[in-house]
Protein backbone atom coordinates (compact mmCIF):
# COMPACT_ATOMS: atom_id res chain seq x y z
CA UNK A 1 0.00 0.00 0.00
CA UNK A 2 1.69 3.16 -1.20
CA UNK A 3 0.91 5.80 1.37
CA UNK A 4 3.83 8.16 1.37
CA UNK A 5 3.85 11.68 2.73
CA UNK A 6 5.72 13.97 0.37
CA UNK A 7 5.99 17.72 0.89
CA UNK A 8 7.83 19.76 -1.74
CA UNK A 9 9.62 16.67 -2.94
CA UNK A 10 10.76 15.68 0.55
CA UNK A 11 9.59 12.23 1.57
CA UNK A 12 8.62 11.89 5.22
CA UNK A 13 8.93 8.43 6.70
CA UNK A 14 6.59 9.01 9.61
CA UNK A 15 3.28 10.77 10.08
CA UNK A 16 4.10 11.51 13.67
CA UNK A 17 6.35 14.55 14.07
CA UNK A 18 7.69 15.40 17.50
CA UNK A 19 9.19 18.29 19.40
CA UNK A 20 12.35 18.20 21.47
CA UNK A 21 11.34 20.60 24.25
CA UNK A 22 10.59 20.03 27.94
CA UNK A 23 12.45 16.74 28.36
CA UNK A 24 14.35 15.96 31.55
CA UNK A 25 17.63 15.66 29.66
CA UNK A 26 19.02 14.94 26.20
CA UNK A 27 19.18 11.21 26.88
CA UNK A 28 15.45 11.11 27.57
CA UNK A 29 14.86 13.25 24.45
CA UNK A 30 16.75 10.75 22.33
CA UNK A 31 15.07 7.67 23.78
CA UNK A 32 11.57 9.14 23.50
CA UNK A 33 12.10 10.24 19.91
CA UNK A 34 13.39 6.81 19.00
CA UNK A 35 10.34 5.20 20.61
CA UNK A 36 8.03 7.57 18.70
CA UNK A 37 9.39 6.43 15.35
CA UNK A 38 9.28 10.05 14.16
CA UNK A 39 11.69 11.13 11.46
CA UNK A 40 10.92 14.83 11.88
CA UNK A 41 11.89 16.71 15.00
CA UNK A 42 11.25 20.35 15.77
CA UNK A 43 13.87 22.54 17.40
CA UNK A 44 14.04 26.15 18.56
CA UNK A 45 16.62 28.80 17.61
CA UNK A 46 18.32 30.32 20.64
CA UNK A 47 21.56 31.98 21.68
CA UNK A 48 24.55 29.70 22.18
CA UNK A 49 25.58 29.54 25.82
CA UNK A 50 28.86 31.45 25.69
CA UNK A 51 29.77 31.26 29.36
CA UNK A 52 29.41 27.49 29.78
CA UNK A 53 30.89 25.86 26.71
CA UNK A 54 30.94 22.42 28.32
CA UNK A 55 27.17 22.22 27.98
CA UNK A 56 26.14 19.59 25.50
CA UNK A 57 24.29 20.33 22.30
CA UNK A 58 20.95 18.84 21.30
CA UNK A 59 22.39 17.79 17.94
CA UNK A 60 24.89 15.55 19.75
CA UNK A 61 21.85 13.43 20.59
CA UNK A 62 19.59 14.01 17.59
CA UNK A 63 21.63 13.27 14.49
CA UNK A 64 20.61 15.59 11.61
CA UNK A 65 21.63 12.83 9.20
CA UNK A 66 19.05 10.52 10.74
CA UNK A 67 16.25 13.01 11.45
CA UNK A 68 14.75 15.85 9.46
CA UNK A 69 15.31 18.96 11.56
CA UNK A 70 12.38 21.36 11.58
CA UNK A 71 13.38 24.66 13.22
CA UNK A 72 10.59 26.79 14.62
CA UNK A 73 10.16 30.49 15.24
CA UNK A 74 8.64 29.98 18.68
CA UNK A 75 8.67 33.10 20.78
CA UNK A 76 8.33 35.45 17.80
CA UNK A 77 5.56 38.01 18.11
CA UNK A 78 6.32 40.08 15.02
CA UNK A 79 6.85 39.38 11.33
CA UNK A 80 10.35 40.90 11.59
CA UNK A 81 11.37 38.53 14.39
CA UNK A 82 9.90 35.51 12.61
CA UNK A 83 11.87 36.39 9.46
CA UNK A 84 15.05 36.91 11.47
CA UNK A 85 14.78 33.56 13.25
CA UNK A 86 13.89 31.76 10.01
CA UNK A 87 16.87 33.17 8.17
CA UNK A 88 19.21 32.37 11.05
CA UNK A 89 17.82 28.82 11.16
CA UNK A 90 18.52 28.33 7.48
CA UNK A 91 22.01 29.82 7.73
CA UNK A 92 22.95 27.11 10.20
CA UNK A 93 23.08 24.96 7.08
CA UNK A 94 21.06 22.15 8.59
CA UNK A 95 17.55 22.74 7.23
CA UNK A 96 15.49 24.75 4.74
CA UNK A 97 12.30 23.78 6.52
CA UNK A 98 10.69 26.28 8.84
CA UNK A 99 7.85 25.78 11.26
CA UNK A 100 6.62 29.32 11.12
CA UNK A 101 5.05 30.77 14.23
CA UNK A 102 4.00 34.37 14.64
CA UNK A 103 2.40 34.46 18.06
CA UNK A 104 -0.37 36.93 18.77
CA UNK A 105 -1.17 36.36 22.41
CA UNK A 106 0.97 35.34 25.36
CA UNK A 107 -1.69 33.52 27.32
CA UNK A 108 -3.13 31.34 24.58
CA UNK A 109 -0.15 31.37 22.21
CA UNK A 110 -2.69 31.68 19.43
CA UNK A 111 -1.15 32.75 16.13
CA UNK A 112 -1.29 36.29 14.78
CA UNK A 113 -2.58 35.09 11.44
CA UNK A 114 -2.18 38.43 9.66
CA UNK A 115 1.51 38.47 10.55
CA UNK A 116 1.76 34.78 9.73
CA UNK A 117 0.37 35.32 6.25
CA UNK A 118 2.81 38.13 5.56
CA UNK A 119 5.80 36.15 6.83
CA UNK A 120 4.72 33.06 4.86
CA UNK A 121 4.61 35.06 1.65
CA UNK A 122 8.08 36.54 2.17
CA UNK A 123 9.77 33.30 3.22
CA UNK A 124 8.15 31.23 0.47
CA UNK A 125 9.60 33.70 -2.05
CA UNK A 126 13.01 33.24 -0.42
CA UNK A 127 12.79 29.50 -1.08
CA UNK A 128 11.94 28.26 2.38
CA UNK A 129 9.69 25.23 2.85
CA UNK A 130 7.21 27.10 5.01
CA UNK A 131 5.03 25.15 7.43
CA UNK A 132 2.84 27.74 9.16
CA UNK A 133 1.31 27.12 12.58
CA UNK A 134 -2.17 28.56 12.25
CA UNK A 135 -5.69 28.60 13.65
CA UNK A 136 -8.28 26.01 12.73
CA UNK A 137 -9.63 28.56 10.25
CA UNK A 138 -10.33 27.22 6.73
CA UNK A 139 -10.29 30.70 5.17
CA UNK A 140 -6.85 31.49 6.56
CA UNK A 141 -5.69 28.02 5.48
CA UNK A 142 -6.61 28.90 1.90
CA UNK A 143 -4.86 32.26 2.19
CA UNK A 144 -1.70 30.55 3.44
CA UNK A 145 -1.87 28.08 0.58
CA UNK A 146 -2.12 30.98 -1.89
CA UNK A 147 0.81 32.70 -0.13
CA UNK A 148 3.12 29.76 -0.84
CA UNK A 149 2.96 27.59 2.29
CA UNK A 150 4.15 24.00 1.80
CA UNK A 151 1.62 22.56 4.25
CA UNK A 152 -0.99 23.86 6.66
CA UNK A 153 -0.53 23.27 10.36
CA UNK A 154 -3.72 24.09 12.22
CA UNK A 155 -3.80 23.84 15.98
CA UNK A 156 -6.04 21.27 17.62
CA UNK A 157 -6.04 23.33 20.83
CA UNK A 158 -3.62 25.79 22.49
CA UNK A 159 0.03 24.72 22.58
CA UNK A 160 0.75 22.50 25.57
CA UNK A 161 -2.90 22.45 26.68
CA UNK A 162 -3.59 18.79 25.95
CA UNK A 163 -7.22 19.63 25.19
CA UNK A 164 -7.25 17.51 22.06
CA UNK A 165 -8.93 18.34 18.76
CA UNK A 166 -11.40 20.99 19.91
CA UNK A 167 -12.97 21.63 16.54
CA UNK A 168 -12.78 18.51 14.39
CA UNK A 169 -15.34 19.98 11.99
CA UNK A 170 -13.11 22.92 11.14
CA UNK A 171 -10.15 20.58 10.63
CA UNK A 172 -12.36 18.56 8.28
CA UNK A 173 -13.32 21.70 6.36
CA UNK A 174 -9.64 22.71 6.10
CA UNK A 175 -8.92 19.28 4.64
CA UNK A 176 -11.58 19.88 2.01
CA UNK A 177 -10.50 23.48 1.38
CA UNK A 178 -6.79 23.13 0.64
CA UNK A 179 -4.82 20.81 -1.60
CA UNK A 180 -1.75 21.01 0.65
CA UNK A 181 -0.96 18.44 3.32
CA UNK A 182 -2.59 19.27 6.66
CA UNK A 183 -0.68 18.58 9.84
CA UNK A 184 -2.34 19.08 13.21
CA UNK A 185 0.11 21.00 15.34
CA UNK A 186 -0.52 21.54 19.04
CA UNK A 187 -3.22 20.51 21.46
CA UNK A 188 -2.83 16.74 21.41
CA UNK A 189 -2.95 15.41 24.97
CA UNK A 190 -3.13 11.67 24.63
CA UNK A 191 -2.98 8.89 22.05
CA UNK A 192 -6.69 8.98 21.15
CA UNK A 193 -6.37 12.70 20.23
CA UNK A 194 -3.66 11.83 17.72
CA UNK A 195 -5.78 8.99 16.34
CA UNK A 196 -8.75 11.36 15.93
CA UNK A 197 -6.63 13.83 13.97
CA UNK A 198 -5.50 11.06 11.65
CA UNK A 199 -8.99 9.58 11.29
CA UNK A 200 -10.20 12.99 10.14
CA UNK A 201 -7.79 12.60 7.24
CA UNK A 202 -4.89 14.77 8.41
CA UNK A 203 -1.57 13.95 6.81
CA UNK A 204 0.45 14.05 10.02
CA UNK A 205 0.40 15.10 13.66
CA UNK A 206 3.00 17.24 15.38
CA UNK A 207 3.21 17.16 19.15
CA UNK A 208 5.64 17.71 21.98
CA UNK A 209 4.20 18.19 25.45
CA UNK A 210 1.92 15.15 25.27
CA UNK A 211 5.04 12.97 25.18
CA UNK A 212 7.56 15.05 27.12
CA UNK A 213 5.10 15.84 29.90
CA UNK A 214 3.71 12.31 30.31
CA UNK A 215 4.58 10.37 33.46
CA UNK A 216 6.44 7.91 31.27
CA UNK A 217 7.49 9.79 28.12
CA UNK A 218 9.02 6.74 26.46
CA UNK A 219 5.81 4.69 26.82
CA UNK A 220 3.71 7.65 25.63
CA UNK A 221 6.01 8.09 22.61
CA UNK A 222 5.27 4.50 21.67
CA UNK A 223 1.53 5.01 22.28
CA UNK A 224 1.56 8.03 19.95
CA UNK A 225 3.39 6.09 17.27
CA UNK A 226 0.74 3.39 17.30
CA UNK A 227 -2.14 5.88 17.53
CA UNK A 228 -0.97 7.74 14.43
CA UNK A 229 -0.51 4.51 12.49
CA UNK A 230 -3.91 3.21 13.65
CA UNK A 231 -5.64 6.52 12.87
CA UNK A 232 -4.15 6.64 9.39
CA UNK A 233 -5.09 3.02 8.61
CA UNK A 234 -8.58 3.62 9.95
CA UNK A 235 -8.99 6.72 7.76
CA UNK A 236 -7.84 4.81 4.69
CA UNK A 237 -9.97 1.80 5.53
CA UNK A 238 -13.09 3.97 5.63
CA UNK A 239 -15.16 3.91 8.78
CA UNK A 240 -18.81 2.78 8.91
CA UNK A 241 -21.45 5.47 9.03
CA UNK A 242 -22.85 6.32 12.45
CA UNK A 243 -26.39 5.07 13.03
CA UNK A 244 -28.76 5.70 15.89
CA UNK A 245 -30.07 2.14 16.19
CA UNK A 246 -28.56 -1.31 16.34
CA UNK A 247 -27.93 -3.71 13.49
CA UNK A 248 -27.27 -7.25 14.64
CA UNK A 249 -23.97 -8.80 13.66
CA UNK A 250 -25.28 -12.37 14.02
CA UNK A 251 -27.79 -13.77 11.48
CA UNK A 252 -31.50 -13.97 12.22
CA UNK A 253 -31.67 -17.17 10.15
CA UNK A 254 -31.29 -20.33 12.20
CA UNK A 255 -32.48 -18.78 15.42
CA UNK A 256 -34.23 -21.43 17.58
Amino acid sequence: MDDRLIIRGIEFLSRLWVGTGKYKDFEETRTAIEASGADVVTVAVRRVNITDRKKENLLDYIDPKKYKILPNTAGCYTVEDALRYSRLARESGISDLIKLEVIGDEKTLFPDTLGLLKATEILAKEGFVVLPYTNDDPVMARRLEDAGAAAIMPLGAPIGSGLGIRNPYNIKIILETVKLPVIVDAGVGTASDAAIAMELGCDAVLLNTAIAGAKDPIAMASAMKHAVIAGRLSYRAGRIPKKLYATASSPIEGIL
Binding site: T42, V43, N57, A89
Partner: protein, 72 residues
Amino acid sequence: MRFLFFMRLKINGESAKNLKAATIRALLEELKIDSGRVAVEVNLSIIKKVDYDHYTLNDGDSVEIVNFVGGG
Protein backbone atom coordinates in the same frame (compact mmCIF):
# COMPACT_ATOMS: atom_id res chain seq x y z
CA MET B 1 47.65 49.24 12.92
CA ARG B 2 44.78 47.60 14.77
CA PHE B 3 44.74 47.59 18.54
CA LEU B 4 42.89 44.34 18.85
CA PHE B 5 43.18 44.11 22.61
CA PHE B 6 41.08 47.22 22.87
CA MET B 7 38.25 45.76 20.84
CA ARG B 8 35.00 45.53 22.71
CA LEU B 9 32.33 43.26 21.29
CA LYS B 10 28.88 42.49 22.47
CA ILE B 11 28.31 38.76 22.11
CA ASN B 12 24.81 37.40 22.68
CA GLY B 13 23.91 40.51 24.60
CA GLU B 14 26.93 40.38 26.94
CA SER B 15 29.97 42.63 26.82
CA ALA B 16 33.04 40.64 25.90
CA LYS B 17 36.54 41.91 26.50
CA ASN B 18 39.98 40.42 26.04
CA LEU B 19 39.03 38.63 22.85
CA LYS B 20 41.83 38.47 20.33
CA ALA B 21 39.68 37.30 17.43
CA ALA B 22 39.59 39.53 14.38
CA THR B 23 37.33 37.39 12.18
CA ILE B 24 34.18 35.34 12.75
CA ARG B 25 36.13 32.12 12.23
CA ALA B 26 38.71 33.14 14.84
CA LEU B 27 36.00 34.23 17.25
CA LEU B 28 34.18 30.88 17.00
CA GLU B 29 37.46 29.05 17.50
CA GLU B 30 38.32 31.19 20.50
CA LEU B 31 34.91 30.48 22.00
CA LYS B 32 35.25 26.77 21.09
CA ILE B 33 32.06 26.77 19.04
CA ASP B 34 31.53 24.33 16.16
CA SER B 35 30.84 26.59 13.18
CA GLY B 36 28.85 23.85 11.45
CA ARG B 37 26.00 24.08 13.89
CA VAL B 38 25.54 27.78 14.42
CA ALA B 39 24.43 30.88 12.62
CA VAL B 40 26.06 34.25 13.20
CA GLU B 41 24.69 37.73 12.97
CA VAL B 42 26.74 40.93 13.22
CA ASN B 43 24.79 44.15 13.84
CA LEU B 44 21.60 42.37 12.73
CA SER B 45 23.05 41.13 9.43
CA ILE B 46 23.49 37.41 8.93
CA ILE B 47 27.02 36.42 8.00
CA LYS B 48 27.23 33.56 5.54
CA LYS B 49 29.44 30.64 6.48
CA VAL B 50 31.65 31.17 3.44
CA ASP B 51 32.47 34.63 4.79
CA TYR B 52 33.54 33.53 8.29
CA ASP B 53 37.23 33.52 7.32
CA HIS B 54 37.41 37.06 6.04
CA TYR B 55 34.63 38.95 7.79
CA THR B 56 36.49 41.41 10.02
CA LEU B 57 35.02 42.33 13.37
CA ASN B 58 35.13 45.94 14.48
CA ASP B 59 35.13 47.65 17.83
CA GLY B 60 31.60 47.96 19.17
CA ASP B 61 30.13 45.23 16.97
CA SER B 62 27.16 43.37 18.32
CA VAL B 63 27.45 39.65 17.53
CA GLU B 64 24.73 37.05 17.93
CA ILE B 65 25.60 33.37 17.78
CA VAL B 66 22.62 31.03 17.74
CA ASN B 67 22.11 27.29 17.62
CA PHE B 68 19.28 24.78 17.90
CA VAL B 69 17.87 23.86 21.28
CA GLY B 70 14.97 21.69 22.37
CA GLY B 71 11.64 23.11 21.30
CA GLY B 72 8.21 22.19 20.05
